[in-house]
Amino acid sequence: MDKIEQVEKLRETNEPQVKSEKGIKAFIISMTFVTILTAALTSGTYNGYDPNAYSVAITGFFVIVTVVMTAVWYRSKYSNYSYEDKKS
């Protein structure tokens, strides 16, 4: 077994078991469609160079909500797990 494989094995034994993430992944995929739809509906057929600030703001807001909700979900699911290299 080479060194890289040894490191992989060490990580596998130290990290928590992967739990079901279907719920959060369904949420993320849904929010992906919501974000694209929001940008498309609020920006419409405009193809110039002066974007609508409200369209950008609402699209960005949905993305921020998605990222923050996901962070909260993973933190609670894996009890604030944070990968650390055991060797270093």
């Binding site: 490191v7 596998e12 992906t32 193809n47 974007p51 998605t66 962070a71 944070s82």
Partner: protein
């Protein structure tokens, strides 16, 4: 002549593709650019060279064949571009970020990217204020040779441009082929000439160190025998830039920039900071730079949102490096400055401040100048890249020499 101008929101998809692929490369991690500054890991140079080579060939080849593009060559005001590049390179050495990787890092859930974003907005605002002064006007007008590329003025002499693009692409591919990724590693040229080459212990240690650095702070377990494990332990740490995966990613990024230029505009990331400043603080109409930005930015705010979202999606579904805003300090920074979160926040903030100030001064950043600009063979972008690299290496040497 084939010509298209796409809807603005389409920019979201361009950002998602580039943000996702760059996150997979690991460029959203500030340690990657800090290691570039320490000349320890040259992944960024190799990958960007592949993207520029493939993109410039496609761009000038298609243009020669009669396809119309929305060119975005930045004017070469020699002093302003050089000074901007120097400040930009210094800012990268301190923060480990460029404007686009701040968006990607936010998508990856990196805590220090929040401070970098705030510093970046302040840096962009500072340039809006400076632009109003006579010094700012002098910087953008003195020795200004306009929008020029290697074959003349933008969108002229395309046949000559295509010829030069072939040579330019050959130079870029040669750089990626002959430059070893790791300080203690071998180049693609060496490994292909030595078929029985096996990783040396030093190079293997670099692989392991890079994988650990990329995964550090991840808030989700990686799992066993799956795609994320392959991505993190084999693909993104590999020194084979001419391997199928690395090469494909570089080519796709280059071609995506060309597609973006066909559809609407070049790929840029830093103008959005000035645009946000114009919308919330220094309004267009009174501040000249805000007026300029507000009416010319195009779909960049959408492509920047896409960049953030693409990196987020990649970090969940592809690399499993999503950090959920855990406390993570880049290893080089930790070795040099210790574990203090406040010091790291101050470094990310001040470095990003300088980096955005330099980017706006030079009218472009790693995306608008180094990727899109060098792909178009813009003279200003080549000047910018050279100055950025000199200052990145120099300032990193000063900051990190104690740990090297």
């Amino acid at each position: 002549m084939i010509s298209v101008t796409a809807y603005e929101w389409i920019g979201l998809f361009i950002g998602i593709v580039i943000g996702g692929l760059a996150e997979a490369w690991g460029i959203s991690n500030p340690e990657v650019l800090i290691r570039l500054g320490r000349w320890k890991d040259r992944l960024f140079v190799g990958c960007i060279a592949i993207a520029i080579g493939a993109g410039s060939l496609a761009l000038y080849g298609l243009s020669f064949a009669g396809v119309a593009f929305h060119w975005g060559i930045k004017p070469d005001y020699v002093v302003g571009v050089a000074l901007g590049g120097a400040i930009f390179g210094t800012g990268i050495a301190i923060s480990g970020y460029v404007p686009g990787t701040i968006w990607m890092a936010l998508g990856e859930g990196r805590r220090d990217a929040i401070y970098a974003l705030l510093g970046g907005l302040l840096g962009a605002a500072s340039w809006t204020l400076i632009y109003q002064t006579s010094f700012g006007q002098w910087l953008v007008s003195y020795l200004n040779f306009g929008e020029i590329y290697f074959a003349g003025k933008v969108d002229t002499n395309i046949d000559l441009g295509f010829g030069i693009a072939i040579l330019w692409a050959a130079i870029m591919f040669t750089i990626a082929y002959t430059l070893p990724r790791y300080k203690h590693g071998k180049s693609c040229a060496y490994t292909s000439l030595h078929k029985n080459y096996k990783l040396s212990p030093e190079e293997e240690a670099e692989y392991i160190d890079t994988a650990s650095m990329l995964l550090e702070g991840s808030s989700m377990p990686l799992g066993k025998n799956n795609l994320p494990e392959k991505v993190n332990y084999h693909w993104t740490v590999s020194s084979k830039l001419f391997g199928v995966v690395m090469m494909s990613v570089g080519i796709i990024i280059g071609l995506t920039v060309v597609l973006e230029m066909f559809l609407h505009q070049i790929f840029g990331e830093s103008t959005t900071y000035s645009w946000i400043v114009a919308k919330i603080w220094l309004p267009a109409g009174y501040w000249n730079y805000s007026t300029l930005v507000a009416h010319t930015i195009g779909w960049e705010p959408f492509s920047d949102i896409g960049t953030l979202f693409g990196a987020f999606l990649a970090s969940i579904f592809f690399t499993r490096r999503f950090q959920s805003f855990n406390n993570v300090i880049p290893p080089s920074w930790k070795k040099r400055f210790g574990n203090s979160q406040i010091k790291r926040a101050a470094g990310a903030f001040s470095g990003a401040f300088l980096m955005l100030l330099g980017a706006r001064m030079a009218d472009g950043c790693a995306s608008g100048h180094i990727l899109s600009g060098d792909l178009q063979m813009a003279v200003s972008s080549l000047e910018f890249f050279v100055v950025v690299m000199i200052f990145l290496l120099l300032v990193s040497r000063i900051i990190y020499r104690r740990i090297d």
